[in-house]
């Protein structure tokens, strides 16, 4: 006999990798929501979600999808939040919890708060989970297992609403942490967004090389470059929106990284062995820190 479901009616706006995985874990467990409603904008995706059958209700009208739901999770690229919110806000049920799964949090508060109806509780969330695949077929119930989910509720948010979202993620197998949105955005800028910007960039740099070298690059891609291209295989819309919606933190981290890369380049040019060794050692020490935390 499972626990009582946290939510009576859970509505997912967007059912790609993340939304599709939430729906699957909710179905698999039975103690997250009694009814799962799925909305997605594209007719093809809607049809595919019906075929896959992981939602109880598949609804093409976003206003109808959120009506009566006691929890709504936005699982679309963060750039679409303001538009979606304008459509759904008038139909949100008083007392409902509005949460999301976006990789930027300051922008979410910026885009959702102005339209938030009185009595609806906003609890921004970021499940730090994903794969290089996207779309409703890519989701699976175990995606969030053992991964962190960061909540960034604003001060004064209803603690009961925050706890519901936290409990949902714990039941999905995640470890839940809270912090303010600005800290979140800085942390993800360096651990995730900048590495992606770098990976996309280096692939382009390689692509611009003279034909002969470029062919050899593809042929001899050693492990270093392979790891970069794994990152670079990610979804276009999602990453464009992340970059544009975590602009300040990302540009700050890019500037810091760039200064550091040029300092190392300068040391290479001038043969400063000690400086280079120090930089390599620092990489190893961070690596050790990750291993101690069992993240590597």
């Amino acid at each position: 006999m499972p626990d009582q479901p946290i939510f009576e009616r859970l509505c997912l706006i967007g059912v790609g990798l993340i939304g599709g995985s939430i729906a699957r874990v909710a179905r698999a467990r039975g103690d997250i929501a009694r009814t799962v409603v799925a909305h997605t904008r594209r007719p093809e995706t809607l049809a595919r979600v019906r075929e896959l059958g992981f939602a109880d209700v598949v609804e093409e009208d976003p206003a109808k999808a959120v009506a009566g739901a006691d929890a709504v999770i936005l699982c679309v690229p963060v750039g679409a939040y303001a538009g979606v919110m304008a459509t759904i806000a008038p139909h949100l049920k008083p007392g409902a919890v509005l949460t999301d799964a976006g990789s930027t949090k300051g922008s979410v508060i910026r885009d959702l708060t102005p339209l938030l109806p009185k009595g609806v509780h906003l609890v921004p969330a970021h499940p730090m989970a994903g794969t290089e695949h996207s779309g409703p077929d890519a989701g699976f119930a175990e995606l969030f297992h053992g991964r962190y989910v960061i909540l960034t509720p604003e001060p004064g948010t209803d603690p009961a609403a925050v706890e519901k979202v936290a409990e949902m993620w714990r039941r999905a197998g995640s470890m839940v942490e809270s912090m303010d949105a600005a800290t979140h955005d800085k942390v993800v800028a360096i651990v995730s967004h900048l590495p992606h910007l770098i990976a996309f960039t280096i692939c382009g740099t390689a692509d611009d090389l003279a034909e002969e070298t470029r062919e050899a690059v593809l042929k001899f891609a050693a492990s270093g470059f392979r790891d970069f291209t794994r990152i670079a295989a990610s979804d276009v819309d999602m990453w464009r929106d992340i970059f544009l919606n975590n602009r300040e933190a990302l540009l700050e981290m890019l500037a810091r990284f760039s200064e550091d890369a040029h300092a190392l380049g300068r040391a290479v040019r001038w043969g400063e062995a000690g400086f280079i060794e120090d930089r390599i050692r620092r990489g190893r020490s961070i690596r050790r820190g990750l291993i101690e935390r069992k993240q590597a």
Copy 2:
């Protein structure tokens, strides 16, 4: 009944990950060398190599180690080549093949050619294989299996000597390719050396963040950063020497990458969605290229 060994007496100068793996595959197969001689500079490593027992002869004096060998492979960091060569050159056997396993090739030709005795054949080689571990314990016979080895013999090198080295690597399970040293150095600068420089750098950038953010970075390191730190766990001496000995190609690739990263940063600042999407798509297309070549 195995084929005749390619070499009567094969001498490894340096028996870390690469040298230790060559010794192991030679022993495992029996058709690479009749006798494997191992030399290493440090007494502790010498003792450990004796314990591990993967070489027929362990010799502390490099001059004695190379004496009588019909093949000598340098498996030390590329920065040590000139010093090693000064010691061993007078003792190399006429007709012997001198090869190596370094990740830079222009520097190898620069450092070894001036001291090369008449009648000794230099065949620079780069096995594109490795792990994040180092030392004689890290080696294993299968390390080179299915990996590329690039040979960069100068025009006019004895074809029989080149073929012996190529055949050795084929018997170790590798795919052998040839190109000129300058092309090699450019290709590895972008597929391997620049990714390592970037990985070392971003670890340092993270390490410099304010204490609170730094702790969170270690805690929440997403897959992007994890892939970077895997690269960054590599051997200090080896990578210092690679950077210093592929200086020009590496600085050229860093400059190109840096221009491209700043162009993408600028697009983020000014909200140029189309430019950002184009860069992400190029990353995906390179990724597809790798998958088609079964490298990913």
